[in-house]
């Protein structure tokens, strides 16, 4: 119900915005946010994620309380503010989502392929456990300051790789991330584009993800965000938890250091 009302309301707000943009452009998402007050439909994903986290599942009949997200087993408060990071047990840098997949596999005995059968939900009955679990863990870092670890050589290498990918132009349209996100104050149609090479913009953008997407009625994660950016760049399908996905997340997360997490956020 919230979703349907929200989508309709946003639709008419966008129509108003289109008419009046020449003068003072109103921000329909900001108005929607104000209307909801402190409420965000993302809370339903957080609650579902909490239940998934705490319910014994899989062949090993275990819950996820033994999952180490970098701050020790079972510690989720503040963990997202220090991700991605190098994990000694896997010997590689992982983002939140690939780490959760790893925990589900090792603690509960559910193979990654099974968990990732539904990477991204459709806002309806086709639901992704990853979107719920991610929302739950991220919410426990609300108000925490981004401080991505940067002492391990692999963390530095991931950042450097992510930076290169950010500027990598390819495909029929010659697009890179920086085509849309490399200059300040630009829009595509009416949508403002954050300049992710600018610390202030990078913080504001990163700390609002994952987010409930009003237009999709779905909670979207950082893996989804990157995947859909690459789709629009005319690239093939970004593999969930791949080296490129993690490296690019590392570059963006590190660029957002010092920002205060306010996620899951609320987006257009």
């Amino acid at each position: 119900m919230i979703r349907i009302t929200g989508a309709l309301w946003l639709g008419s707000a966008l129509a108003v915005a289109a008419l009046t943009v020449g003068a003072q452009a109103p921000d329909p998402v900001a108005e929607y946010r104000e209307m909801l007050g402190d409420d965000n439909p993302a809370v339903f994903w957080e609650l579902r994620g909490e239940e998934l986290w705490k319910t014994p599942r899989g062949p090993k009949r275990a819950d996820l309380s033994g999952c180490d997200l970098g701050l020790g087993k079972g510690v989720i408060a503040g963990a997202y503010a220090q991700l991605p990071r190098f994990f000694a047990d896997t010997g590689r840098v992982q983002d939140l989502e690939s780490r959760i997949v790893h925990c589900i596999e090792t603690l509960q005995g559910i193979p990654a392929a099974e968990t990732l059968k539904v990477r991204f939900g459709n806002g309806d009955d086709y639901r992704s456990e990853m979107e719920a679990l991610t929302a739950y863990v991220v919410a426990a870092s609300r108000g925490h300051t981004m401080a991505v670890p940067f002492s391990h050589p692999q963390e530095k290498a991931a950042y450097e790789l992510g930076r290169k990918i950010f500027f990598y132009r390819a495909g029929p349209h010659d697009f890179s991330c920086s085509t849309c996100h490399g200059t300040s104050g630009k829009r595509i149609r009416l949508q403002q584009m954050p300049n992710l090479t600018d610390a202030q913009d990078a913080r504001a953008a990163y700390t609002g993800w994952p987010a409930y997407r009003i237009s999709q009625g779905e909670l979207r994660t950082m893996e989804w965000r990157l995947n859909d950016c690459f789709r629009q760049q005319r690239m093939p399908d970004l593999v969930y938890g791949s080296e490129v996905a993690i490296a690019l997340t590392m570059f963006l997360a590190k660029s957002a250091d010092g920002g205060t997490l306010d996620a899951p956020g609320l987006k257009r």
Binding site: Y168, T179, K186, M193, D237, V239
Partner: protein, 199 residues
């Protein structure tokens, strides 16, 4: 002595370019391992041509690299076979508005759009325009339509790299995003006195 110095410089140059080539190969391999082909979006799309590679450094391009891009790109431009630059502005408007095409989520049987409005202001009445590129409002009205400006604008749409190295604009002709008739129609949208762009 002079020869030795040249040989040394050449060896250094070759050494450096060999290192750079290895680094680029490694990067494209990482990319290929991190993507899966989906519908029309194959893994070949991750490969770079020389221009794309020169424009991926994160720094502005200058000097010889910039000249090289202009030289490479100039040679790719094909003027319309019959010398006719202008088509139907109404069809051009559809191309300018259409943001679909070449994404794995798009139907490859449908024609691609030019998505001009994503980055450019064109007709005054269309307020949903982007600002990554300059405003093109009153394009023909301000510039006239003599042979030189028609040829230049055609080339710019065909391959913008020939005029501005590392331009953010897609190479609509060179990369076969738009066909010749679509480009003629977009040209008419820019130049036709009846087009809303010139109202």
């Amino acid at each position: 002595m002079k020869h030795q110095a040249w040989a040394g410089a050449l060896a250094l140059l070759l050494g450096l370019s060999a290192t750079a080539a290895t680094a680029e190969t490694a990067l494209v391999d990482v990319l290929r391992a991190s993507f899966k082909p989906k519908n029309q979006a194959t893994l070949e799309r991750l490969d770079q041509d020389r221009t794309q590679q020169a424009c991926s450094t994160g720094r502005p391009v200058s000097g010889e690299a910039a000249v090289q891009i202009i030289m490479d790109s100039r040679d790719t431009i094909r003027d319309p076979a019959d010398g006719r630059y202008l088509g139907d502005w109404k069809a051009g408007e559809i191309v300018a508005q259409n943001g679909r095409g070449k994404q794995y989520s798009d139907d490859p049987a449908e024609p691609s759009g030019g998505n001009c409005y994503a980055c450019h202001q064109l007709a005054q009445a269309e307020v949903a325009y982007g600002t990554i590129g300059p405003s093109l409002m009153h394009y023909g009205k301000l510039r006239g339509r003599d042979a030189a400006i028609l040829k230049y604008t055609w080339g710019k749409i065909y391959n913008a790299q020939a005029f501005m190295p590392c331009s953010l604009m897609p190479r609509f002709g060179h990369q076969q995003i738009l066909d010749e008739q679509q480009m003629r129609d977009v040209m008419a949208y820019l130049f036709d006195p009846e087009s809303p762009v010139n109202q």
